[in-house]
Amino acid sequence: MPPFDLSIPAQLTAALGPDLLLMGGASLLLLWAAWREPSQAHQRAVGYASMALTIVVGAYAIWSLYQLRSATGGPIAVDNFRWMADAVILLGTLFTIALSIDDNERENIPVAESHVLVLFASSGMMLLAAAQDLMIVFLGIELMSLSVYSQAGINRRSARGAEGALKYFLLGAFATAFLLYGMALVYGATGTTNLADISSRVTRLGLAHSPLLVIGIGLLLIGFGFKVAAAPFHMWAPDVYDGSPSPITAYMAATVKAAAFAALLRVWMEAFPAAFAAWQPAVAGLAVATMIVGNAIGLAQRNIKRMLAYSSIAHAGFLLVALAAGSTQSGSAMLFYLLAYTLATFGAFAVIIVMARGNDRPVMIDDFAGLWSVRPWLALGMGIMMLSLLGFPVFGGAGFFAKWYVLQAALQSPTPQTTLAVILVLTTVVSAGYYLYVVMVMFMKPRPEGSIAPGATPALTRAVVVFSVIAILLLGIVPDRFVRLARAGIMHAVPTADAAPAATASTAGTATP
């Protein structure tokens, strides 16, 4: 199908309707947020409105998904992968705002704009998921990043928050420069910023070994590697996650990562399939380094947010395995993984929010000691999150299928990534060392004498936990429907990495959610 002509309103809304709705709505909400004196009530009201907007946009995106429209070429992709990614992103957005409403109240941050910032960041992410042009990628990344930089420091009373925000900002900008340089070089090599055009020119002109292109891909990989916190570009993540408010940390860990991976996958699969041989070793190496670094250092953590930060790094490594496989399954495996990871991460952070003590004091893993005896349901929820992050069947629900899918993608690749698969599972065993430590502390350690029970769980936070647990467990028992949805989300360009162009049309065309 031809690309949409964005100058025709009908086609514009078909291609960018949810994005425009979100951006427009967010702008209006920003006005409303700035209109009143900061207060908890106002913050809450804006938060609810933001959630409502998110739900509407989400519904719109899912409706679009079922329209089965697709178009090739052009700056904006209209395909199932995009809508699926949007759905995952918006789910994370919804969770973030819900948690923020409660967390802002608890931490006394009466900033209504915080929710709007989340919406803006999310609109950047949606752009990323849809970007079929490097310019749009850049725009999306910056829109997302700038909003999140501010988010990280939203608690102005927190020195830790400010430090985190600064580190994030400086390193983020630094990495963006590499990303941008990469884009410039790719542009220089191919003369275009459109992904489909890049791909066709690389093939047509035989640019797969062009130094400009190859260095450009490398620099792009570095830029994206920073955004997804792949080792060795991960160093910012633990500090920033540690310093930021917990909902934002979850947002960064799950949703930012989801968006970055969506864009990474699209760029790689649509623009550089012909250079597979060039980038595969680097991506694989990055995956290995990330898995090892994340899981090993995770073992040494006593602060739960930092632990989850390293866990998040490790998961980036697992996702990179799917990318390195470059198989038809990579895209859907990644989507499924991101969904499962989003659920588990937000669930875990929701519990951390409940456990927080305020006063800028970090939550330590040992604070969970004996949680089972005072808050059994909470402990159970956290246990399920941990097992899900570990990728354990049934009790970890969706987490296991996510890992399974990635493994399947790795092994189904035209060049089966057995080594990566083995490293994946071995580092998973290492990760059991810290995930289980949390479980152990909650269920097997006594509650320390004189420790205060955590306060009541606010309604929205509880809703997030309950929803995550139920979704994780359900996905862990009957994942087939979502697997099929994720399958349908495979982009049209992906199979070219399999060097099977004939399958391209059929996969994208016949797939139905």
Partner: protein, 530 residues
Amino acid sequence: MIDFLTSIGYMHWVLPVLLLIPTLGAMAIWLQGAPGRGAPGADDVASGAASVPRLMAFVTFLVEFIVSIGLWWTYDTTNPGWQGVFDVPWIPSWGIHFRLGIDGISLMMILLTTSTMVLAVLGGWTSIRKRAHTYYALLLILTAGMLGVFMSLDLFLFYVMWEVMLVPMYFIIGAWGGERRVYASMKFFIYTMLGSMLMLVAIVYLGLAAKSPITGIPNFNYDAVLEHASITTAASFWLFGAFFLAFAVKVPMFPFHTWLPDAHVEAPTAGSVVLASIMLKLGTFGFLRLAVPLFPAVATNDTVRGIILTLAVIGIVYGALVSLVQPDFKKLVAYSSVSHLGFVMLGIFALTVQSVQGALMVMINHGISTGALFFLIGMIYERRHTRLIEDYGGIARVVPMFAAALTLVTFSSIGVPGTNGFVGEFLVLLGAFRTYPVFAFIAATVVIFAAAYLLWAIQRILFNALDKPVNLHIPDLNRRELALLVPLLAGIVWLGVYPKPVLSRMETSAEHFVQSVQTRALHTVAEGNN
């Protein structure tokens, strides 16, 4: 009996129902009381809070056992194929089915499981004093997982069930265990996971190797993988290695055994019993069901076989020798398990009908005898709160019933003829001697060491002078404990004297196993040569 069972379509629904009963039971128990009721850390037995869940658990297990026992009659011993097959698509996009079925081997394992679990509840009747609801719920989930492994005819399902068992056992050890329970449970979990994770990769690989050429969807159906998976010789070695590691840890084979003593020692009685009686069998069952049949050429490769048999025999002798010097009775029994399970491995890899049947018998016998030993240790521990052998001495005078039971079980574990222990070990050694006389010869020396370590232990517990005043007033077995031991003791004698009903139910499957592995190994080798 058969007519009645056939008339209600028993074989069509029994397998899923066997999984459903404990799952529902667990939910019911948990919802009934946990986590809302009762102060945490309170003594549920004394307060009576434990009586409802344990009764529910007992009834559930009893129902489960009664439902399962029908298999004894309805199982068709002449049919070497799967029976009671239940097959529904689970995740069709990945070619995964919820496919259950049994053969003679899994039949016996299922019956062993369901019967042991009834006793396991009784065994912890008064010793599980905290958070009783959760404990019994976990025990039920554990049962579902174990049964699932025995029934699975889909590799994916097998893996899922394999892991499902892990979590309840982790909690049972970690939350209801002894002093070093945290270390033990963590070690147990990570050790086992290390083994099983590589198996996961291997399973994915196999499923993809058997994928449909038309749709490209992988196929995890056991039979499909067995028949259609196209694997290169080199790959099959690696894949076998992955399965080997998973199962060897579980068995446990030397040198992958060190989680076992810790887990056994720290676990509560029912945990130890389940570990010893059933969970260890899952490892050897894995060899019988997956590792060997899927890669017959590797399993019969001289080098591989030599290594495995060497490890098995080392385990046999080593386990016995290390048992000899254990100060802790539970640890002693744990190491003796290493020794006994070595016999199973020897039997499986010697690959004669006698040795395989013997291995199966050892699996059952070890379940009964070692289970009984752990029950007995649990009983005496409940009275004296020590497992150290030297803390006892001469107590046969104050607890004669206990002493009589322990002595009989000990004889069974030693393998005295007339008890079940002899039948298994004799058959394994006899069969193994035909193909691997040297290994069998070395393994047979254990008849000496086994007598040495166990008799020395029970002498220091039951006999000698009753010289510690604290032991003067140990109460003897109560009626519940006696009721729980009697079936085990009866089983010991029954299987020792008349094992034929059991042997005949496993015979077709064991013969099928040996023959198919041998012919398929030859076939594969021939293909490789072409």
